[in-house]
């Protein structure tokens, strides 16, 4: 579903050049729940941005859902974001002027999806039935992140990208959000979560560990996959 071949992303030129990603090659398959792990500056967010067509590599090839996004035009990149990937952000980034339902509906409108579950049904699927008419500032942090997940799910896009989705949340809420994300992987969909939290990585099918722009490790979590309920941080 996601293929990267010899991907490099460099910033600056000459001696001041910094390589956020340095010759990375990897593949993420349908149904996988992948955690990209690494400390600050390891290149994990850059990786997420490139997969999400928000950024383009300096060299190498990236294919998402069969489409080569390295050669895509600006307009095609917008189209890929509408129909292939969906984002969940650390700070939720909900639209404060829209209700929970409208935030979800916004994503449906943006991707132009006809049919499929309604905004209310998607909200129900993340446990927010009865909160649909609330504005973001009337919701708790966990509820806001659920709305953000519902918004991402509502597009029906095959790739779900989450950048530090529990970073703003307390432990219990974070665990619930992680459970929710874990459930989203399955046939026709891959979930990629970026984090610096090793506990979260324990819940993944696969952990890709980055260090200074290189893949330092790629495989099941050390000690095997753990239940979300057994996590702590």
């Amino acid at each position: 579903m996601i293929e990267l071949e010899h991907v490099t992303r460099a910033y600056g030129e000459g001696p001041a050049q910094v390589r956020a990603l340095d010759d990375i090659s990897l593949a993420i398959r349908e149904g996988e729940f992948v955690v990209v792990l690494g400390p600050s500056g390891s290149g994990k967010t850059t990786l997420l941005n490139i997969i999400g067509a928000l950024d383009t590599p300096t060299s190498g090839t990236v294919r998402v859902a069969g489409r080569d996004i390295t050669t895509a035009s600006r307009g095609e990149l917008f189209a890929i974001r509408r129909r292939t990937v969906s984002f969940i952000f650390q700070g939720f980034n909900l639209f404060p002027g829209l209700t929970a339902r409208e935030n979800v509906q916004f994503a449906i409108d943006a991707c132009g999806r006809k049919g499929g579950p309604s905004a209310d049904e998607v909200l129900e699927s993340v446990g927010l039935e009865g909160r649909a008419r609330q504005f973001p500032h009337q919701l708790s942090g966990g509820e806001q992140q659920r709305v953000a997940i519902a918004r991402a799910l509502a597009t029906g896009n095959p790739v779900l990208l989450a950048d530090e989705p529990t970073g703003e949340l307390d432990f219990h809420t974070g665990v619930r959000i992680l459970e929710l994300l874990q459930k989203q992987s399955g046939p026709g969909r891959a979930v990629v979560v970026v984090t610096h939290n090793r506990q979260i990585a324990r819940a993944a099918d696969r952990v890709i560990e980055l260090s200074s722009g290189h893949v330092a490790g790629d495989g099941p979590p050390a000690g095997g996959k753990a239940n979300v309920a057994d996590l702590y941080w």
């Binding site: 967010t45 850059t46 941005n49 999400g52 928000l54 950024d55 307009g75 917008f78 189209a79 890929i80 974001r81 509408r82 129909r83 969906s86 984002f87 952000f89 650390q90 700070g91 939720f92 980034n93 639209f95 404060p96 002027g97 829209l98 209700t99 409208e102 509906q105 916004f106 994503a107 409108d109 943006a110 991707c111 008419r133 504005f135 973001p136 500032h137 009337q138 942090g141 806001q144 597009t155 703003e168």
Partner: protein
């Protein structure tokens, strides 16, 4: 004790830091500075013009010895030369500095050039030329030479400069006056009574339609067949003499020494041109004040908005400074320095704008009003005071958000993410309001209502600019509408007819009238009378031009808005404005001071008659009044006429008829009935370019405020936009939402602005018109075209403003914005 380095190092840091803040938002800063510049510059520039006008006209009055008192004999009356001087002498020793007799008579002037027929009514001023021109109400020669003693008795004159300039006449030449007599003009000059050309029929700035000839009094007497006669006296009083006290004394002396001769004594302040010029200068300043305040309000709101946003974006930095123990007053230095720098920049731009605006206006005024000298020195006091206000107000407006920001608890200030998220403003109230369409259609409405204070401030700024625009253009509309109303009344029937003034009253069956009526180019003639009079009620006086005519005339008759025409009943028909000013209605009684022919002495005397107000007519000029010809006996002029309304025959042009009537005996002037309106419209057209420039400047102002607001909004919503981009929403869709949001703001601002502009227009007309042009009944009007233009431009300009931020959106670092905003 801190060392000087210790004191200065932090100061340098604050300055550098605030300068970086300024640079990072330079487009918004420049926009606000320009708004401040427009406010300060237009006010300083226009206020300079006021001072220049005042200094230059005062100098003109002093230099040319404008009269303190003037004596005018009743229409058609003259007295032997020297009689009026004798009366003046009776005022006593040392009271009068200078006094001169004049002979002032109406005439018709034919100044036609090879390619253009110029036939206009005018006046001949017979003045003293012995010492190079009159000593009172002197002449300043712009072109050609002065009058000399050698010119006495010869048909030599100076032409009034406004007229000469309007038609581009050469410095010297030949023209003809009533009766076809040739006059050689040897130059073009101005005199205080004609610093603004005003005709007795209410035309102001009437140089296109009124020519004055100044000639030696002996020449005027010979030319008009009034040898040894005068009818006018001008006096310059000795320093310290009391004009107001001497006016009734002189009037009493005239009545005593020249019984049976109707004479009026007026002071300098009653001179129409003097009155209008002075009132106009003061009135203009009032209007400038209002516009400056409005523009300034927009600038202040814009500055407040920007600084509030800057402070908001620095919220966490402020919190960090608090955590580090920096006192709030020190934290406030940085945003306040930004505010000071913006205000200072605005004032600096404003000085440049003020100099440009002032000089441009002065150029037009110099051209419009050829005074002896124009003083246009740099008005540093005006600029200094405007500069201080221009700096202080926007600066002070920014202290409020800064003060609020530094009072926030540090914990709150350093909060990040969703915990720092703002509430939804009024959005919850609007959750049930759904526009047709998807969520993209809902976003703009919600954005407007979720930050009501910001929306309100933005709308207020734009509304201020729109209000200034509507009030300004509405003023022009109201004048045009007034002229149109007058024109509609006068031209309601036989629109091509001419008014032919006769040099004195003639019997309606006299040779003079028959000669005119018998012209082959004439289809019909309606004999009338026109007589200067004064209507009085409870001490309130209004000057009138009473037209005596058959009120059922087939040629033309006035229409009444209240009361009714009663031909057999003695009474007068007044304008609505005159009735309002006098506080009378149809059925009330007024006193009319009017001339009455003294057959024995062949002169007019002024008498007072109690009359009923029979009706109010629809003409907007206050001085227009009608009396039915059946009541002509009131003036002892039954069966007489001094004014003919002449209808040209089929296919005959106005100019053809004028040329045909011009040489006929008894004809003083001929004028199309609609020409006064045409002249005023010509004048308005001359100013149209300036008006459009000001209109354009106000639109730019609205656009600047809108752009500024849009730009601030774009900055503030950068993360929302980045999120939209992350979901693949195209730039054009994001822009469309911003355009719709601004469109909504534009509608609100334009509606508020138009309403405020309308109120302002009413206030300006109520305050300004009665003192500036008391004879014109100006009703506040905003023409549909102006209204549509203001609405379309106001809404469109504001709605389109976000398009200017397209580059910012297209080049947005989406990942960076999504991350950094945390």
């Amino acid at each position: 004790m801190p060392t000087s380095t210790g004191r200065w190092r932090p100061a340098g840091l604050w300055l550098r830091w605030s300068w970086r803040d300024l640079k990072s938002r330079w487009i918004q800063v420049a926009a606000i500075a320009l708004v401040i510049a427009l406010g300060t510059g237009s006010y300083a520039g226009l206020s300079s013009v006021t001072r220049w006008r005042r200094a230059s006209t005062d100098d003109g009055y002093a230099r040319l010895h404008m009269h303190d008192l003037r004596v005018e004999l009743a229409q058609g009356s003259t007295v032997p030369q020297g009689s009026l001087l004798d009366v003046a002498a009776a005022l006593g020793e040392g009271v009068v500095e200078r006094a001169e007799e004049r002979l002032v008579l109406p005439t018709q002037v034919d100044a036609s050039t090879a390619g253009r027929a110029i036939l206009v009514p005018g006046s001949i001023y017979g003045v003293s030329a012995a010492a190079g021109g009159p000593a009172v109400d002197g002449l300043f020669v712009h072109l050609g030479r002065e009058l000399t003693g050698d010119d006495a008795g010869k048909p030599v004159a100076l032409l009034e400069r406004h007229f000469g300039k309007y038609y581009g006449l050469s410095a010297a030449g030949t023209l003809r006056v009533s009766g076809g007599q040739e006059v050689e003009y040897v130059g073009q000059a101005v005199t205080p009574e004609y610093f603004l050309v005003i005709t007795e029929r209410g035309g102001f700035a009437a140089e296109a339609n009124f020519a004055v000839l100044f000639m030696p009094i002996e020449s005027a007497q010979r030319l008009t067949g009034r040898e040894g006669q005068v009818n006018d006296l001008v006096l310059e009083l000795a320093p310290g003499a009391d004009r107001a006290a001497l006016q009734p004394r002189l009037a009493a002396l005239l009545a005593e020494r020249l019984p049976g001769v109707g004479a009026t004594v007026t002071t300098r302040e009653e001179d129409p041109a003097f009155q209008i010029i002075n009132a106009d200068i003061d009135g203009d300043q009032q209007v400038y004040d209002i516009f400056a305040v409005l523009i300034f309000a927009g600038a202040v709101v814009a500055a407040f908005n920007l600084i509030a946003r800057i402070v908001e974006s620095q919220r966490r930095e402020i919190g960090i400074a608090m955590v580090l123990g920096v006192p709030p007053r020190r934290i406030a230095i940085r945003p306040l320095l930004v505010a000071a720098e913006i205000a200072l920049l605005g004032v600096v731009f404003g000085i440049g704008a003020g100099i440009l605006i002032g000089n441009a206006m002065a150029g037009v005024l110099k051209d419009f009003s050829p005074l002896p000298a124009w003083y246009t020195d740099f008005q540093w006091r005006v600029f200094l005071s405007v500069g201080i206000i221009g700096f202080l107000f926007p600066f002070l407006a920014t202290t409020w958000p800064v003060w609020r920001a530094v009072r926030v608890p540090p914990v709150q200030a350093i909060q990040a993410g969703y915990r720092a998220a703002r509430g939804g403003g009024l959005a919850p109230l609007f959750r049930w309001v759904r526009l047709p369409g998807n969520t993209f259609a809902q976003v703009p409405v919600r954005n407007v209502v979720r930050s009501p204070r910001r929306s309100l401030l933005t709308s207020l700024g734009i509304a201020a600019a729109i209000a200034a625009l509507v009030a300004f253009v509405g003023l022009i509309d109201s004048f045009i509408d007034t002229i149109d109303r007058g024109e509609r009344v006068i031209l309601s029937k036989n629109a091509e007819r001419l008014e032919v003034d006769l040099d004195r009253p003639y019997a309606v069956d006299s040779e003079v009238v028959r000669a005119i009526a018998g012209q082959p180019l004439v289809a019909a003639v309606e004999p009338q009378l026109r007589l200067g009079s004064v209507v009085i009620k409870d001490g309130e006086e209004v000057n009138l031009q009473v037209q005596v005519l058959a009120l059922d005339s087939p040629v033309w008759a006035p229409r009444m808005t209240s009361g009714a025409i009663q031909r057999e009943r003695e009474g007068i028909y007044l304008s609505e404005l005159a009735a309002r000013n006098l506080g009378v209605r149809p059925g009330d009684t007024v006193t009319l001071r009017h001339p009455r022919l003294d057959v024995a002495n062949a002169t007019f005397t002024l008498v007072e008659t109690e009359m009923e107000v029979l009706g109010l007519h629809e003409h907007p000029f206050r001085f227009v009044a009608y009396v039915d010809s059946n009541q002509a006996g009131l003036f002892n002029l039954a069966g007489a006429t001094n004014l003919l309304e002449v209808v040209p025959a089929e296919g005959v042009t106005r100019d053809d008829l004028k040329r045909a009537l011009f040489p006929l005996p008894g004809v003083v002037s001929t004028q199309g009935v609609g020409e006064v309106a045409e002249v005023i419209q010509d004048l308005l057209n001359e100013f149209v370019v300036i008006l459009r420039v000001i209109e354009g400047a106000l639109l730019v102002l609205a656009l600047l405020i809108a752009f500024n607001s849009a730009s601030i909004n774009m900055d503030e919503r950068a993360r929302e936009h980045a999120t939209m981009f992350a979901f693949g929403v195209p730039v054009r869709t994001v822009l469309r939402m911003a355009v719709v949001e601004n469109f909504l703001l534009g509608i609100a601002a334009t509606a508020g602005g138009v309403f405020a502009g309308w109120l302002l227009l009413r206030a300006i007309i109520a305050i300004r018109i009665p003192s500036t042009v008391p004879d014109i009944d100006v009703i506040p009007v905003i023409s549909p075209v102006t209204l549509a233009l203001s609405v379309i431009l106001g809404v469109l300009a504001v709605a389109m403003a976000p398009l200017l931020t397209v580059r910012k959106l297209r080049t947005m670092d989406v990942p960076g914005t999504l991350k950094v905003m945390e």
